[in-house]
Symmetry: C2
Subunit: 495 residues, 2 copies
Amino acid sequence: MTFTAVKPSDASPFGSPIHENSEAEVRALISKAQEQAHTLANLSPAKSAALLREIADAIESQRAALIESACAETALPEGRIGGEITRTTVQFKLFADLVETGRHLRVVIDKADANYSPAPRPDLRRQNQPLGVVAIFAASNFPLAFSVAGGDSASAIASGSAVVAKAHPSHPNTCAIIEGAVKSALTKSGLSTDLFAIVQGTNPQITHWLAGDPRIKAVGFTGSEAVGRILLDISAKREVPIPVYAEMGSLNPVFVTSAAIGERSEELAKGLVDSALLGSGQFCTKPGLIFIPDNQKEFLLQISAHLATLQVGPLLSSSIASRYGAAIASLAQAPKVQIFSAKATENGFGVTPTIFVTDWSTAQSTQGLLEEHFGPTTVVITAAEKDFVKIAGELQGQLTATIHGSASDSFTELLSILAQKAGRVIWNAFPTGVAVTEAMQHGGQWPASSTHTTSVGIDAIYRFMRPVSYQSFAQAVLPPALQDANPWKVEQRIN
Amino acid sequence: MTFTAVKPSDASPFGSPIHENSEAEVRALISKAQEQAHTLANLSPAKSAALLREIADAIESQRAALIESACAETALPEGRIGGEITRTTVQFKLFADLVETGRHLRVVIDKADANYSPAPRPDLRRQNQPLGVVAIFAASNFPLAFSVAGGDSASAIASGSAVVAKAHPSHPNTCAIIEGAVKSALTKSGLSTDLFAIVQGTNPQITHWLAGDPRIKAVGFTGSEAVGRILLDISAKREVPIPVYAEMGSLNPVFVTSAAIGERSEELAKGLVDSALLGSGQFCTKPGLIFIPDNQKEFLLQISAHLATLQVGPLLSSSIASRYGAAIASLAQAPKVQIFSAKATENGFGVTPTIFVTDWSTAQSTQGLLEEHFGPTTVVITAAEKDFVKIAGELQGQLTATIHGSASDSFTELLSILAQKAGRVIWNAFPTGVAVTEAMQHGGQWPASSTHTTSVGIDAIYRFMRPVSYQSFAQAVLPPALQDANPWKVEQRIN
């Protein structure tokens, strides 16, 4: 069995046929990864950091091939793909910097204390340990930064966990190049190439084989709520349930005040439309719901006028394009909903960016209007500004929530509610464009995320580790990070 | 509807009839807690610490009443109950000390950086925020330290989350005294008593009402694997799934080497039996599987001889006593299993401590021998010492795993496997007696725990918080802990 990549720009095939992995092959890859997992888990921080930097270098060395392949497989522009390659290597380097300090081990040493209350305490030392072999499901919309060696895999490898990654079938050749790069870095570092494997295929059973395998200890996933629920159900039915770190759909509501429109309506109209259409609207942080005050006809005209000048690249796959087309066609039939359109893209998986405008009660009663639609669309909702707080309280969980306002606005209550709904709240900026940094929180509340963790930023590493306490062991027997001599020079918190 | 507590010492009723809460009452308590939750969430670290210390003092002020009630309701000795009261108040004070520093907020401030790679980064500040209203299910075996205001509730309140706690029906009067104490501390602190509520009853539906209520944001539970699975299933079927922090059964395997027996056989035999019988064998960290090398007949005789001198207090409830009796009777029928007994306790829910001895293959093929049996029993398994590593690899997940050895033993491989199975590994000590301290990890691997978190020690607080990032907000609008001026003087990590 094979399958072939498709170019979104003209729907033609790209590259050689790709071998589709069988169940036996998937299980063999997991098995081999498990046999080698201890070698990765036991690396010193210095060697672990060196490996992560080798991976970054190996990916960088494939820049030209990656740009050629990823541009063809995604139809994303070269600048975007180049930026993603950089982000991918930066992610590995950030984890290298973290791992080198040993801070991610969160070492705590409680020395024995005969006078401790409520009872004498023994010598107790805790560190984080990697989980073992984890399954990563690559996203279609970040062919590098969230693909087989994207943020999920980088954080897993940095934790010391071996990775079996499911390549997204919309960019299989790009994934194969990355696989080669990571494996070459493992070899250079004196480690087995079995520690990182990718699985290719279009068969949905692959998801079940991977997530259901008893040797898999955690799942990292970025994608739709529907597939996220499937993964959670697989986990719940396992003999040993495992954590499923799913970051799923989000509407990323934006609340715009009258004062903000009064101050900078044109900049706002452009910024909102550009953010919604960025990457052809294929970002999980796309603003999918934009609340504006009633009676802002002029502002709507500015949105409409700016949109009309725009055109976007084709969507990532035929299935995304056809789901988008069907959703737009269905929403266009809804009564009391105004429609703004941009220029059509006719070739390949091209579509027409479309913005819907309606009021809150229509939005609530119109099927599909308050759901995420992947692609260049958003919904502008007009409402009384005094109702923003109430409306915010009625929203589901989100990855992000944004307020566009003026310094003169009073929005404490709105902000407090949005901070309960989302993982990241934003002031006078746009939710797309996610900084890969320590203070970043990408995961939000259900249905946007299945846990309270983050897949972006360095805290992503903690998803693949768990704390273990060592009680009363002799120094020589303790893991290096827990020893008083601290041979790895890791950060230790000593009580 | 009412129910009445029962004294395990003679099966007689204790105290007045207790009102059994209806569904409407449970939902009203959740509702009221939710209405007030923001007041707790927004307390300054200083006020939050003061509240936790008020609660500790209020519980301490009820010491005499608690001892009278808890001793009657559990038949545990006064010394144990007194120690538990102290542990309960110490837990609140430890959280007060933590909260005061603000360290639990895990504040990270990434200042805006136009030169940041791969892209300029905005001002991004992250802190932990409380989840809201959480449901705590009290354990039967710790009538204070893991009951309605035990470690779970203390960590939840410290996080800033409101608590609705299900009282265990085996010590309802003790729970009612604690409820009064916590509510009086809330009042003294100028807060609503609705922030802490307890629910009483024997109806198993209460579990569903609580864990299934959409306003409940997390569940803390200590108890059996069966009930843990029910709670996980309730969560998975909710419209919005929530984290279920369940710490469940564990066999807490102990591996004893020939060298250890050679050095200190009598001390070991006594220590193991005493640990298995401590608290009438009703600890989740009870050593339930003890592996000793073949041909240690003398050591088995020492175990048998020490056991024969002992007697334990009655079990906590008639259901625990009858499950224990049925399990012991059934295991006693198994072929190739040797039985050692202690003195019987005839009154009330009294039972006879019983130790089973068999080999590993018999243990594996005998139904029920490798399951947790709550009460004064354990299983001693004889095996070739060279097979310890292989056997350890075949064990399920555990809370703890222990090695009793000599400095001359080489056990690196065994330790490495046990550290993959358990949350706490122990050298030459006993798993019972859990230190309430920062380096403690109580939770282990499934089926001992549902997540990688801990319910004991100060890290328990992180179960009830989640990170939220604030992007580009003006200083005045930011939560106090994220402001440059740092009015709460919390620990801030600034990049």
